[in-house]
């Protein structure tokens, strides 16, 4: 019999068994998503800014007719929807990590995260509804404010 403990002998339970429940790939996927969505968002946002502010007549062209004309095309619908969803998830996840890092009390953390998720749901649902149910030619509006295809 040796005095040295057998390394395969049963060990005392972990000091923090709760950690077993917080394992999993959630944080991994979150981390990867932040990087991937960041790269895509750079393209989407600068493309959006260029098309709206620089291309053609530039910033002066923006009015109801301009936006309505863009959202009549499925390409810009998908572009803006992607931008909305990616930016909102990216931003919400970022603020979530900041709350995790800075809020020390459990109640503060819960309240802040609750407000955050509420804001996320409101903005995403509202934005998605607007993009899909948008009417570019509301009846009874003066024709000079509407996109050109409304009068054709």
């Amino acid at each position: 019999m040796s005095l040295v403990a057998d390394p395969k002998a049963p060990r005392p339970p972990r000091a923090r068994p709760s950690r077993l429940t917080t394992r999993g790939n959630t944080e991994l996927y979150g981390w990867v998503f932040m990087r991937a969505s960041g790269v895509v968002l750079v393209v989407l946002i600068f493309g959006h800014l260029f098309v709206n502010l620089v291309a053609g007549e530039g910033v002066k062209a923006i009015d109801f007719g301009f936006v309505a004309g863009k959202w009549a095309s499925p390409f810009w619908q998908v572009w803006d929807l992607l931008m909305l969803w990616l930016a909102m998830i990216h931003g919400t996840n970022g603020v979530r990590t900041i709350v995790n890092d800075y809020a020390e009390k459990d109640t503060t953390r819960m309240v802040l995260k609750g407000l955050l998720y509420l804001a996320f749901v409101v903005v995403v649902v509202l934005g998605t509804l607007v993009i899909f149910t948008f009417d570019p030619c509301p009846s009874g509006s003066p024709a000079d404010l509407l996109p050109s295809f409304c009068t054709e």
Partner: protein
Amino acid sequence: MTAVAEAPAQKVGEVASFTVTMRVMRYLPDENGDAVPRWDEFQVESHGTDRVLDALHKIKWEQDGSLTFRRSCAHGVCGSDAMRINGRNRLACKTLLKDLDPSKPITVEPIKGLPVVKDLVVDMEPFFASYREIMPFLITTGNEPTKERLQSAAQRERFDDTTKCILCAACTSSCPVFWTDGQYFGPAAIVNAHRFIFDSRDEGGAQRLEILNDKEGVWRCRTTFNCTEACPRGIEVTKAIQEVKRAMITRAF
């Protein structure tokens, strides 16, 4: 050409001496456990070859015997005397007073994020609990070989940097994520997991990655590089953490 010393201001072999002001954080809880930390100032006669640890020794031995701090080897190997010196985590035994601008008071505090027991002594248990969780020992399967477990120089080189850790907690207690609630595993635990994950002889890598894939694991690292700057052994801590992250991602996808 022979180098000619131009009228030396001091004799050869003579070491400059100066008086330095040490501002030390003192803390002694009463039996109810409450106490207010306070700053004590000490004037210490020092030499150019003295380290912060020598100044603390002089205070303890000649001025105030109640000053409490940890030290063992006093030569930067045991990792006992990590403390916050002039706002940065360093080993008191590896920091020369003359490198710290002795004309101004030198502040010495306990490392942050761990409960202070007395003066500069902190409770290291949360730190070692995280260290134990990553299983810092060789895990193998099958029968024990009758000779050494061989490894090439390149395989040894892969994790050479992280074998240097002396568990002084300078990195973990410099990490702002660890400061918030102390639940994060901390750089030191991840460095020591890295030492085994990338060891070709070890077979517990998947288990350790699983443990560090925790909500409080490597994904809480914000790459602020505080740990790399604090490490008295010069370990590239943040790089090691990133390598563990990469290993997890290649495993998951």
